[in-house]
Amino acid sequence: MHPHRKQRLIWVSLIVVLSSAAIGLVAFALRDNINLFYPPSDVVAGKAPVDRNIRLGGMVVEGSIERSDTSLTTEFWVTDYEASVAVRYTGILPDLFDEGQGVVAEGRLDEAGVLIASQVLAKHDENYMPPEVAAALEGKSKPSLGPVSP
C-alpha cells in the first residue's frame, strides 16, 4: 500500500476507534439516565428518587388489577419477579394493558410507596404469533417476559 494511503487509513481507523470510545464512555457514564424506567426492585431498594416523577417498568401482577366502580381509577401491582410496587392510575389505559403483561407507569411515589401514575404505557414484548398458535401454547409454557437486566 502507498505510504500516504496507509497513513490516511490509520487516520480513518483512529477517527472511528476514538470517537466510538468517547461516545461509549459517555453512554456508560449516563447509563442511569438512558434507562427509561426503574424496575420495582430498584424502587423498593430506594434507588429511585421519591421527590420527583419517575417511570416504573415491569409486569402487571396476575390478579392484582382492581378497577373502581365509580371512577376511571385502577390499581395494580407491578413486579420484576423480585419485588413489587403498587400503582394507582386515573385515566384510560392502553388496549394492551393486561395482567401478566409489560407496563411502564410514570408518576410520583407517595408516602406509602404507591406510585401515583400520570401516564401508563403498555410494553409490548417481542413475541408475535397467530391466535391459533397462542391458544395451543396456552398453559403449556410461559414465555419469559421480564425486563432484562442491562
Binding site: R5, I15, V16, L93, P94, L96, L121, E126, M129, P130
Partner: protein
Amino acid sequence: MWSFIHKLGSPPWFFRFGGNLVRWLLPVTLILLLVGAFWGLLVAPPDFRQGNSYRIIYIHVPAAVVALAGYYVMALAGAISLIWRIKMADIAMKAAAPVGAVLTGIALVTGAIWGKPTWGTWWVWDARITSMLILFFLYLGVVALFEAYENKAAAAKACAVLSLVGTVNIPIIYKSVDWWYSLHQPASIKFTGESAIDASMMYPLLLMIVAFYGLFAVTVVMNMRAELIWHHRQSSWVRQWAGFE
C-alpha cells in the same frame, strides 16, 4: 476482481454498468415488494394480541434494518473517499445519504403510528427511539454538509468524517434494547436460536427486508447516475449518451 473494482471508479463505465443493474434489479425489487406486501398484509395471520395492527411491521422493520445497513454503506464510501481519494466514493456517499434519511424517517413515523394504539403514546424518549432519531439527524447532517461547501472535495472530506464518527451509533441502536431498559421490544428475528415471531409471519417479513435492500440499491445507483451526468455534463460520453454528438 481487481479490474472490476477499478472499472467501478470510471464514470462512463459505472454509468453503463449502473444502467444495466437498475434495468433488472428494479423489476425484481418491485415484484418482491408486491409479493411481500400481499403476503404480509393479506395472507399472514393476525397477531394473537395486536390483531391486524402489527402488520405495520412489514414496513417498519425493513425500513429500519436497511437504514442501519445503509449507514455502513455510506460510511464505507466515506472511508474509501478519504483513503483512496476516489470521486466515485464521494458520489456514492452523497447518493446514499438522502435514501437513508427517508428510510429512517419511515421507520420513525411507522413506529409512532404503531406506538399510539399499542403502547398508548406516539413518542417516548427511550434508548432505541432516541438513537434512531440521532441516526435521522446524522443522515440529514451529511445531506446538509454536502451543500454547505463550495469546494466539493472539502465537502466530501467533511461528510466522510461525519459519517465515520456516526458509525458508533449503529451498534448502539442495534443493542439499545438489550443494554438499557426501553419501551421498545427486543428483536423478534434472531440470528441464533428460535425467533420470537412465528414462521408464518416471519417469511413475508424476511422477503420485505430483501426487497428493501433491493430498493436501497436501486435508488442509490439511480441517484449516482443522475449525479454522474451532472458532474460530467460537459464531457463527450454524456453528450453522446444524450444524443448531442
